[in-house]
Symmetry: C2
Subunit: 623 residues, 2 copies
């Protein structure tokens, strides 16, 4: 047995790479009224003196001045707020069990796991829960009229810094076509803390923020906020170090993951989760049935409510911010999948279907739903009600099974809201374009505007290796229509486990989809970064074009393949056409022409000479 | 000076790679009633004995039995049809000029160019044109009620082989949700030759097929047909061999380009075009103003109608199938771009804007439009009316300049149709999602359903390096709404010249978009390949999944990264979960359960044992 080393050279190098600040960027903060509300943003310095600030999911990692020690975890953002509310208490917590970190029926290397745990002893926190009779959810506070620091944090974060956007916001003020079509969303010009509170109270938004995850930088998921993106990570087959596991998280948030789901299975899942939650500035979601299944040796029929309940408490104490719970997959719905082309494709769904038909009983998740609510509200864990019957192919999209479950999720939402438990709804999956709107309509109708959280959807089935693209199409559309968070798909979907580059590719495709949705919905300020980019493009400020992009490194590399000399990045010409052409010149001609109207100035123009130009957009295209 | 070698080792190796048949695939043909109508398709043999045939753009190159000699060109598909109509004549053609192959003001290596020409002497064809008083366009024949072999070819091609689809078509027969939403398209269950004729007569579809391009395998562009994809290629800075230039074409059609535009500039453009047209089974489009501009040394103001007209005839004699002509950019519209964020970004548009304001005259393309029609109908060159004022940023989308030009394109369409000249309309560009529908609506309204041919559109501006994705979103949507052909965007858009892999990435993104549109529109048979894929997925037929995909090699490679052993591809388990789990097993459980209804069979199920499964869709995702 090798004692695990939290600082393997490879893991250390990877984490260093994931922490590197983006070019020309620095961490800035915008503050709120309440103590401790200091919202990090990324400021990009342009070569023309403009400063562009953008939403920043990367946490302290991208701040080179932050001292990061993965064996101790991130600084505590929310601790004082939680303590100040006075409605929680620390307690000894559930007793750790041998099963928590591994499967039942295999001989495990207890020594090794103990060593892993010991290496992260600094991460152990005393758990906290609601005092008896208290409800500590953000929804509960909101419904009592309280604007929590978390809500104010979200408001500041959603608005961004409006100062630099003034020029671009004015365009939208003048031109209706630039204001978007909200498709039923009601997004105010400025997000106030009270607006956040009202949206949370109404159930139209959630702020996933377990009281045992004080490290989180609060964020909101809701149709009247920016569209968010989730990335999934899982533990390695053989977990070797904290840094390696934490790096997956840091890499994902570097590329824009607003949430991360830990879908670990097998060995060391409890300990790995400790590492991830303690080092995560973004909300962490899990599918607790995965761990429960490990505890019964992978035999779905052997699952019990007691084991599942214990697992919920275990994970709630660790600080998981939301649980995917497939409580809408009821016994009577199972037979609806019999004639599907691809049956049941949700892992959690298949576990529960197997359990239901083996016992010929209603799902214990459904029958114990109110008990689950009691646990959720003691820690402020949010529901992500799982779509166990989502379609696994276009052929099964929008079928009876899918919508029967969706209606049940709506009923469960009402029950969760009765307990003031924050709730979002998971959605498909595989849906051709013409059926996407119906998914959104049905969800809004039956689930009462609880935030929708979809996987894609994939619009076609024949693109293995490119499903991030096939699904980004559906994701952008459903995001525009009102979906609040998009679960990413990587190029490896249907084929294998995503590696580091796949995670990045999946995230960028989904940041594109989410941003396209924000612009189409008309989120105030969403267009400003695009406008700054267009201006940089028109003025041939190449460095600014790279740095305003979602992936500056790749943009710069692609440019340099054609025209590597650094000086060319300052030049007023495009990489295809060379210095002979100048877009600025003809534009000045056009502007002069427009000013002087239709008077005959042709001789003057001709005398002025000037070069023909080829514009920036003509690189790989017609016309 | 080095004499150019038509068979450089690198070019030869590339071309061989581009010709390699797809795995488990062979070329088959479906025949029509008229002589010579033999439509190639790709048949994929599945491991379960099914045969799936798919639309095949790759021409003879993917047939290992075809003898390809790039110095002699492809076999003649349409020659007998053209001759049999008896309305054309061969003639000596325009006299070649020194300017045809290079720019005006530079000393050129005449010897080198002569050697290039000589190496392709076998490609020279005697040009053909309409006899005096004849009109040889497919539209003209269609309007006289004639079903040409080209039209029948298109009908057979669009239908595909329906035999193997029966199982999947039956699904759509039962379930309305699988039939798509045509958004105003009227796609019959079966495309008949008469339907093709009627669509061409109506102007709602075009069959780009210059009488001097008999090598073309006819295809149609129209909203009631499959959505098509165009790829752009350009000559190398230093053209070295025929094979190198032809390989770009062959590589593009391998990955699904239905049309290719040759956007070459600079040296050797005439000779390079000979190489490309003679070796192309797909229609070739050009932007003749590019070559005309080279002839006047790159000075837009020096362009004349005479030089442009001569260039049209030069290219029509070579066999170019459609010309992008920016005749809608009129003098009065130029000033409308003065306050744009990104001015004029079309290369052709900027040339004409410069010409108009320099001379203070109406565009010669507009004033000579009927004369251009006379040339088009003598060779059956189709119009691709260019959108010189398309937006170069989301900020400029759907503005006055863009729509003023679009209306003019509609007027010009009516004039072209008066001459029975086939016409399509180019569209943007950069359009956020909420403005896409208006583009389609305005185009349909003003251009009378002439086929729309859009570049993307890009839905956001901040994704340099990933604009193939940002634009595939818009392309899929506008394709669903009625756009007939999508001009691809590569990852290098805005940054540099696409290399071989960029071309492939761009094409696959656009095949995804086009296919998503076909499925959403409900094109009969479009879903069948997806259904075959879903069935293969559900049955863990890994080889079939790879081979049914748009890029079998990449799918296989991605799979093998996780589970490289060949035997695993036959196994009934997914690469993440390993052999312990089996999707088939639980599905059988569910089906048994459904058959036996709600009777209490739980004891029996439990006694039967069986493993829990993890489904195919759970690889990189939640839930």
């Amino acid at each position: 047995m090798n004692a695990p080393d939290p600082h393997t050279p490879l893991a250390h190098a990877l984490l260093a790479q994931s922490r590197e600040p983006f070019p020309a960027s620095r961490k800035v903060h915008a503050t709120g009224m309440q103590p401790g509300v200091s919202v990090p943003m990324r400021e990009i310095a342009l070569t023309n003196g403009e400063r562009v600030t953008v939403y920043d999911t990367s946490g302290p990692y991208s701040d080179p001045t932050a001292a990061i020690d993965v064996t101790r975890g991130l600084p505590d953002v929310r601790g004082p707020w939680i303590a100040a509310r006075g409605d929680t208490e620390t307690y000894t917590g559930r007793t750790r069990q041998a099963l928590d970190d591994g499967v039942k029926h295999e001989a495990r290397d207890a020594t090794r796991i103990e060593a892993l745990r010991a290496s992260a002893a600094g991460l152990q926190r005393t758990p906290r829960r609601a005092r008896s009779g208290s409800n500590v959810t953000q929804m509960h506070y909101a419904r009592r009229g309280i604007v929590t620091p978390e809500m104010e944090y979200v408001a500041v974060r959603e608005n961004g810094k409006r100062e630099w956007m003034a020029e671009y916001l004015a365009d939208a003020g003048r031109e209706a076509r630039l204001r978007g079509n909200p498709m039923g969303a009601r997004i105010p010009e400025t997000i106030t803390p009270a607006f956040v509170r009202d949206e949370v109270a109404r159930g139209r938004a959630i702020i996933p923020a377990n009281i045992n995850h004080p490290e989180v930088e609060p964020m909101a998921i809701g149709r009247n906020f920016l569209v968010k993106v989730n990335a999934n990570i899982g533990n390695s087959a053989v977990t070797s170090s904290i840094e390696e596991e934490v790096d997956k998280l840091v890499w994902a948030i570097r590329w824009g993951a607003d949430n991360v789901m830990d879908l670990s299975t097998g060995h060391n899942i409890h300990t790995t989760r400790d590492w991830i939650v303690r080092n995560s500035p973004v909300p962490i979601g899990t599918v607790p049935i995965y761990q429960a299944l490990e505890k019964v040796g992978g035999v779905a029929e052997d699952l019990t409510w007691a084991i599942f309940r214990d697992t919920l408490i275990e994970q709630a104490e660790q600080g998981v911010d939301y649980f995917t719970i497939h409580a809408g997959l009821r016994l009577p719905f199972v037979h609806l999948t019999a004639n599907r082309r691809t049956g049941i494709v949700s892992r959690g769904g298949s576990i529960m279907a197997k359990w239901c038909i083996s016992h010929h009983q209603e799902s214990f998740l459904y029958t114990h739903f109110e008990e689950i609510c009691e646990i959720m509200k003691a820690y402020d864990v949010s529901f992500s009600l799982g779509d166990g019957l989502r379609p696994g192919s276009a052929a099964d999209a929008n079928d009876e099974a899918q919508f029967a479950e969706l209606k049940t999720l709506g009923e469960l939402t009402q029950i969760a809201w009765k307990h003031d438990v924050q709730t979002m709804i998971e959605g498909p999956g595989h849906v051709p374009m013409h059926l996407i709107q119906a998914n959104m309509d049905e969800q809004l109708k039956h689930c009462h505007e609880a935030p929708f959280y979809t996987l894609g959807p994939l619009t076609i089935d024949i693109a293995p290796g490119y499903d991030h693209i096939a699904s980004a199409i559906g994701a952008a559309m459903i995001g525009w229509m009102g979906t609040a968070m998009l679960c990413y798909v990587t190029p490896k979907e249907h084929l294998g486990l995503p590696d580091r580059d796949d995670v990045k590719q999946g995230l960028i495709a989904y940041k594109i989809a989410a941003h396209a949705a924000d612009i189409a919905k008309g989120h105030p300020g969403a267009r400003a970064r695009d406008d700054a980019m267009s201006k940089a493009r028109f003025e041939f400020r190449w460095h600014d074009q790279f740095n305003l992009g979602l992936d500056p490194d790749t943009a710069r590399d692609f440019h340099d393949e054609t025209l590597p000399k650094d000086s060319s990045k300052e030049a007023h010409f495009c990489s295809m056409c060379g210095p002979k052409f100048c877009s600025m010149k003809i534009t000045q001609d056009v502007r002069d022409f427009a000013e002087r109207g239709m008077a005959d100035k042709s001789a003057e123009f001709k005398a002025a000479g000037g070069e023909f130009y080829v514009p920036v957009d003509a690189l790989s295209r017609k016309g």
